[in-house]
């Protein structure tokens, strides 16, 4: 039995949990580096070093009980078969009113989440990613990190922000569909430059959103990791400020955290991912239980 995320003891099942953590070891194309299949276990292991009272959100999201599900079993025989369990999990938890946090896995996970969200018939996607994932086909595959945002946009409203790289084709598609939000350069706080607001990040999206966070949105200084070499990414504080504002302006159904590529050779990247997982759960907890300190 794998240990649970953040906590020492797991709830017996999802039914009594307000939030569920779902490991999704999706790793099909070794992008941006090999090893995403190992990431969920690494993030969970690092999470046991995280102190769980979130000072900024003002709550401890483990208080009301979390359930960490067993890792999804993935079969890559076809694209549909591979993505189906992701969509099924997202749909089931959303229908039950539980906040779901998916721990990827490569950024392709969004192509699966979007299928479940589309079946719900409501919601849009706040996409944060380092490379604009709006290419159509790559290496003959339709569901890879570079195409995941486009796949989602074919099913529901999506807005992608924070990216600092984009293929010509991806940029043209995003512009044509009006799904390109502010880039990393516009979101990075620095002297004399007012960063873009969260309004631009959620513009055009419905009230209910799914938060699809790919860790490649962070600068290499914040997330030193193979495959994350491109300069100009968001600082950790830029990202957490953005997350706070997204939660302030939309109801967040759930989230995915993707793009960690172990082995990174250091404890820090998985710890940063775990820390972001705590922040997302804390913000979700505050949104769902305003005023309550969550003490059982």
């Amino acid at each position: 039995m794998a240990p649970p995320f953040l906590t020492a003891e797991n709830l017996p099942d999802a039914t009594r949990a307000w939030a569920v953590v779902v490991p999704v070891p999706f790793d099909r194309c070794a992008a941006p580096a090999p090893g995403a299949r190992l990431a969920p276990a690494e993030i969970v292991a690092a999470s046991h070093q995280v102190e769980t009272h979130d000072l900024e959100a003002g709550c401890d999201p483990t208080d009301r009980g979390l359930f960490t599900a067993p890792p999804l079993e993935l079969d890559y025989s076809t694209e549909d078969v591979a993505l189906a369990p992701i969509g099924d999990a997202v749909e089931a938890h959303a229908r039950a009113g539980r906040f779901a946090l998916l721990l990827g896995g490569e950024a392709t996970v969004l192509a699966g989440s979007a299928r479940g969200l589309a079946r719900l018939g409501r919601g849009g996607v706040v996409r944060l990613e380092g490379v604009l994932g709006c290419e159509d086909v790559r290496h003959g595959l339709r569901a890879v990190p570079r195409t995941a945002t486009r796949r989602a946009s074919e099913l529901l409203p999506v807005r992608s922000s924070g990216w600092r790289l984009a293929a010509e084709e991806a940029r043209a598609f995003a512009t044509g569909k009006d799904l390109a939000g502010p880039t990393a350069r516009r979101l990075a706080a620095r002297p004399g430059v007012a960063p873009a607001t969260a309004d631009e990040v959620v513009a055009g999206l419905p009230q209910d959103v799914w938060l699809a966070l790919d860790l490649g949105v962070l600068d290499p200084s914040a997330l030193p990791m193979p495959g994350n070499l491109e300069p100009g990414g968001l600082a950790y504080a830029d990202l957490t400020a953005l997350l706070t504002n997204v939660f302030a302006s939309r109801r967040v159904l759930g989230a995915e955290l993707t793009g960690l590529c172990p082995p990174t050779g250091d404890v820090l990247p998985a710890f940063v991912a775990a820390r972001l997982g705590l922040r997302i759960l804390a913000l979700a907890h505050r949104q769902r239980f305003p005023g309550g300190d969550g003490r059982r």
Binding site: Q49, V50, E51, T52, H53, L55, E56, A57, G58, C59, D60, D63, S221, A222, P224, A235, Y236, A237, T240, D266, V267, L268, F271, V272, R275, D293
Partner: protein
């Protein structure tokens, strides 16, 4: 090791190395911190970093105990006695860790705790009553300072558990209300990392007395500029942000003692040791 040199007219410092490591819970290796800092102090001692940094031209380095010492009572006894010896000799004691638990040894050398405010730079609150079976865990370092009756000012904090915040700052205190917590006596203030960025130091300066002891856990810095710590936390201070805060706090106040702790050479590429050496030199000449 002894830096030697002519006696300067001003106050001189003395470094107390405490390679104590008994409770590091994430990445081990802070026992090798003092050695790495001493190497960088020697290597970089003759270049001023910027105006405001004086050369450390008369300094004494003593090793309080060997790194095989893992019994907290022994460590505290040895660090306390060397700190007292420096105070008697009229030198400013600068403790070089080792894990954060070593601060307790230096503080024990001061017989008037209520008159010395402990100013802590740290990513973690370090206020636990006990952790992993001991009150002498590095996650309890500042709780022990409060036990002695030191006023406490905590800066840059971004990691905590609810029990320690509730026990010290009161049930219901959660950090979200303006990111500044207060309680007492002894008076304590906690300014979170975001609070420091957004509100600055103004509201905590009144809680800092005329005599201060500065404790710097290197994990207060951003892992991008100080990766060599055992418990890295994202969103830390930059080097200049830390120095600006130190200068502001030291202005008009007397530094009674200081420490720099938690360097973990195993995670370092050399830059954190250099930075730690600069901080110890800065404090030693403050």
């Amino acid at each position: 090791m002894n830096g030697g040199g002519a006696e300067s007219s001003g106050r001189t410092c003395g470094f107390v190395a405490s390679p104590y490591e008994a409770t590091a819970s994430f990445v081990a290796g802070c026992a090798f911190g003092p050695e790495a800092i001493a190497t960088e102090l020697e290597r970089a001692a003759h270049t001023d970093l910027r105006p405001g940094f004086a050369q450390v031209d008369d300094w004494t380095w003593v090793e309080a105990h060997h790194r095989s010492v893992v019994v907290p009572d022994t460590m505290r006894r040895d660090v306390e006695s060397w700190t007292r010896a420096l105070l008697v000799a009229g030198r400013l004691p600068i403790l070089v860790g080792g894990e954060h638990t070593v601060t307790a040894g230096a503080l024990a050398a001061f017989d008037d705790p209520s008159s010395i405010t402990v100013v802590q730079f740290d990513a973690h609150a370090d206020l636990r009553q006990a952790y992993e079976g001991t009150p002498w865990n590095h996650a309890c370092a500042m709780r022990r300072a409060l036990d002695r009756g030191h006023p406490l000012v905590q800066l840059g904090i971004r990691s905590a558990v609810r029990e320690e915040i509730g026990e010290v700052y009161g049930v219901g205190a959660d950090g979200s209300s303006g990111l500044l917590l207060r309680c007492g006596p002894p008076p304590a203030r906690l300014l979170t990392r975001s609070g420091l960025r957004d509100r600055g130091l103004d509201e905590v300066l009144d809680g800092i007395g005329a005599r201060i002891y500065v404790t710097i856990d290197l994990d207060v810095l951003d892992p991008g500029c100080a990766p060599g710590v055992g418990t890295p936390e994202p969103d830390g201070l930059s080097f200049w942000e830390l120095l600006d805060a130190l200068e502001r706090i030291l202005g008009g106040r007397t530094l009674a003692g200081a420490d720099v702790v938690e360097l973990c050479p195993a995670r370092d590429d050399g830059r954190t040791a250099r930075l730690a050496a600069r901080l110890t030199a800065f404090l030693g000449t403050a």
